[in-house]
């Protein structure tokens, strides 16, 4: 693999929720607020939770989860899915945030999507979550967008 020095246009994008969301297993996280440093290719759909990406760019997407569990002994998992609802595997750059309640496990609190050839849209889905839990507004997505 070769590397070479080149100044690449880069933007930072922050995506958040304007209000807390009551959610259960199978629900998508509904982000509705976007701030960015400049012109970029990211869009959001607050009704579906879809985060649109420009497939000609490269992305590092990190979602830091803040969750209030309805059951204090429950576990949760949030995983990235594409626009068709298919789970994005680690081979394709999707890494889940998984809190595993128990004395023999630790957790990953940040869900990451990173791919040099990104899909056109991603959604963050609660694949494991106690019914009527709350996704708090402190949940944030930070995106680094690089134009290659």
């Amino acid at each position: 693999m070769s590397y070479y020095s080149r100044k690449l246009p880069t933007q930072l994008i922050e995506i958040t929720m304007s209000s807390a969301q009551t959610a259960s297993q199978g629900d998508f996280v509904l982000f509705d607020t976007l701030r960015a440093t400049g012109t970029h290719g990211v869009t959001i759909n607050g009704a579906t939770g879809e985060i649109g990406l420009d497939t000609t760019k490269q992305y590092s997407v990190r979602a830091s989860m803040h969750v209030e569990r309805s059951n204090s002994t429950s576990s949760y998992t949030f995983a990235w899915h594409d626009s068709g609802g298919t789970l994005i595997t680690t081979a394709d750059g999707g890494y889940d945030a998984r809190f595993e309640d128990g004395i023999y496990s630790n957790s990953t609190y940040v869900a990451v999507y990173q791919n040099l050839n990104p899909v056109s849209a991603i959604r963050l889905k609660a694949t494991l979550l106690a019914a009527s839990s709350t996704i708090l507004t402190a949940t944030k997505v930070i995106i680094v967008e690089v134009t290659p």
């Binding site: 020095s5 690449l8 490269q58 992305y59 496990s105 957790s107 609190y109 791919n115 402190a138 690089v146």
Partner: protein
């Protein structure tokens, strides 16, 4: 001083098989990479400078030690700063979950995610279910 990004700017690596018997000082193994090369089964070849982010998830098998102090082990540090993160068992009685227990660093050349300390009565017997290394390759121009 100005900053730019070398191409490819983004890279990542992770394990694809469960790693057992992780002892103090040992590296976390990596098998899959994009935008970088893996050296010796555990080191990510940055080539130059990079901002790094790493995380692990320990297998939850009963009786295995699960608390690790992890850090990057770069061949060169850009500064003397190095961050560590304790990966602690998750069982708590609170309902509100917050926190990011990942490890961050800025380094040069190549780097591995390693164990600095182990806490518990059964060290060396835990298994790494997930090891994740992400990076942003940075050029620094004085």
């Amino acid at each position: 001083m100005s900053f730019g990004f070398n191409f490819p700017a983004l890279f990542r690596a992770h394990n694809t098989t469960l790693q057992t018997g992780i002892g103090s000082g040992g590296p976390f193994n990596l098998q899959f990479s994009e935008g970088c090369e893996i050296i010796g089964g555990s080191r990510v070849n940055i080539q130059n400078n990079a901002y790094l982010y790493g995380d692990i998830k320990i297998d939850g098998s009963t009786g295995k030690n699960q608390s690790y102090d992890i850090a990057f082990d770069p061949t060169k540090l850009i500064s003397t700063m190095i961050s560590e993160a304790w990966q602690i068992a998750s069982e708590i009685n609170l309902t509100i979950m917050v926190g990011d227990d990942a490890v961050y660093n800025v380094a040069q050349d190549n780097v591995a995610l390693t164990v600095r300390q182990i806490s518990g009565s059964n060290p060396g017997n835990s298994s790494a279910d997930q090891t994740r290394v992400f990076g942003l390759r940075v050029e620094v121009t004085p």
